[in-house]
Symmetry: C2
Subunit: 359 residues, 2 copies
């Protein structure tokens, strides 16, 4: 299997252009294709490699099957000064959530805070891609989403009524990088289970259980069990609340209504997301806030360490370092994925992906 050192490297702009071409080949309008491509490539740029270009074949499959509206009328269906519901008209999720985030930022300028929910959206990539969009406006962002496949039962149950419903928060510092949390409410995201299977590795106890409640460690038997929530019943509660906020509130799918978009490429997913934007200027001087964040970040980083611990990380700090490195060195792409994408390119009759020539 591929190891990190054998990865191929692709520049952000080449990756974006490749995805752009792929989306254009499917008939998306140019501006939409470019926006989706930019966000997908940015996911890889920040190290969210389970949510970037690796999803392209699946997205293309769904578009071809008619499961995505290529010419959507994304529109606001409910609105108050600080809130809105955006109906995505079954567009690519990246377009719907971008629309929601831009609207929430505008509303937060005037109200101090804003909450925008989406309905009729689709999978939109990593949560932090959107919470982070607030940072350049001296705002902070929280993002909630209903995951696109149910792998989590209620605590004590065995019906998979919940997804890994993620939470993200992005909080700006002054000189320090932003604090960016991006987490599934399960111990492991389902993508990590699939990655273990690909690598032929066992899962640690605590990731999954089987229908008897016994630990499940063979990732090839993943369909015989379910994910475990963080903190037992607490993570179940969090996944449920996140799902109600991101799904039920805006009229999107939740619970039994969630479509498994890995298995079904046609049915409308009616995916829901929600973005909460807080305008720092409404709470005092943003510069004072950001200095307080820096102080906190430095206190935490400087904490005494447990034996054997080399470094204390802030949420989002590893992703921040990847972003900085990949901007100059290019984005690592696993060889199996590189090959898969170039097979796709041949099929779509677009140019293959261009890898970096310098090592």
């Amino acid at each position: 299997m591929a190891t990190h050192s054998s990865n191929i490297s692709v520049s952000y702009s080449n990756l974006r252009d490749f995805i752009h071409s792929a989306m254009l080949s499917q008939g998306l309008p140019d501006a939409d294709a470019l926006k989706v491509a930019s966000l997908m490539a940015e996911a890889d740029l920040q190290g969210s490699d389970g949510h970037g270009v690796i999803r392209l074949p699946q997205y293309i499959k769904r578009i071809r099957a008619g499961g995505i509206n290529k010419n959507p009328n994304i529109r606001v269906v409910h609105e108050m000064p600080g809130s809105a519901v955006v109906d995505g008209d079954n567009a690519m999720g990246h377009l719907v959530v971008s629309h929601a985030v831009d609207l929430a930022i505008e509303k937060a300028r005037h109200c101090g805070v804003a909450w925008v929910s989406t309905r009729m959206s689709n999978h939109a990539g990593p949560a932090s891609l959107y919470s982070r969009k607030t940072l350049q406006h001296d705002m902070l962002g929280l993002y909630f989403a209903v995951g696109n496949a149910n792998h989590l039962p209620p605590w004590g149950g065995s019906d998979m009524l919940l997804s890994t419903n993620p939470i993200s928060a992005a909080i700006p510092g002054a000189e320090e990088p932003p604090v960016v949390l991006d987490m599934a409410t399960t111990v492991a995201a389902y993508g990590k289970v699939k990655a273990k299977a690909k690598r032929g590795e066992q899962m640690p106890v605590g990731w999954m259980i089987d229908r008897q409640g016994q630990p499940l460690t063979d990732p090839n038997r993943a369909n015989e069990g379910f994910l475990l929530p963080i903190g037992d019943y607490k993570g179940y509660g969090l996944a449920l609340i996140v799902g109600m906020l991101a799904g039920t509130l805006g009229g999107a799918a939740m619970g039994r209504d969630v479509i498994d978009f890995n298995a079904d490429h046609v049915s409308t997913t009616n995916t829901g997301q929600a973005i909460l934007v807080i305008n720092l200027a409404a709470f005092g001087d943003p510069a004072v806030f950001k200095q307080a964040v820096d102080k906190l970040v430095r206190d935490i980083r400087g904490s005494e360490k447990l034996p054997g611990v080399e470094r204390i990380w802030l949420p989002g700090e590893q992703s921040h370092e990847k972003r900085q490195a990949y901007e100059t060195q290019g984005i690592p792409i696993a060889p199996f994925l590189f090959d898969e994408l170039n097979l796709l390119a041949a099929e779509l009759k677009i140019n293959p992906m261009v890898k970096n020539t310098s090592k």
Copy 2:
């Protein structure tokens, strides 16, 4: 030690009146004393017995030591249409948070959503006491707080820079009880550790570790270690984000600045809380939303169960059942606490607590 069956039972109104008298004896204005008493008794009524009248001796100690402002000027110091910062002027926390919640509900009526932060507040009891206040207005509430003592280091560290920073969410159903999450971001709240010590029991592995990173199971050695966050690094991230939202954003204490209010009865705690209120009417027809919540609740409750599981609970459902039972049967008070409170009553020269005569 006290067992449940030997508990003494006290009616809500008798418990409230007792606390009211205690607060009056310390010179709180009547309306303030009554509001604090009502909220503290309500905490016990909903089964949050670690955050109700059990805290009275500590609160009295702090008031007597001058650590609480008995005649505060609780006021808004920053405001936009959907947001505010409430400076509590070092009042009893219950008064400050009530003020913030009332303001947020009013703002959400006009903006669709509102976020109100507190600073210069104090310990205010269980988180769900406040998130729930939104329900009767066809709104939903989220509440975040900075805990009043640091027992949690950053992941990999051993400096206790974080508290158990709780999250609560209250979401109304139509016929079903509301879904109410109220959780610390640590595996166990510190109060549970203290309860284990009182009962002479060991803690399970996973609650605490010592400064070598080894499991700590003796609750009498709790000061030699720290609490563990839910989901390892994820809970650390959550505790940090909650603390920044509830503390840093509004200019309240966070990180190194948090006062251990168990050890220090004098220093101003500058406690911060935050309430987010969402007006259901801004997102569609509240009745439709509440019916969707009912359907989800019933699907979850009706899930197939793992072997040995008798019932699947929704977040807040056990508390809801306690509230219903205690309203008619009275609130159980452990004998040690009943005795402690009546010793306090003698000291304060107020009437002792009246227990239920029936049974």
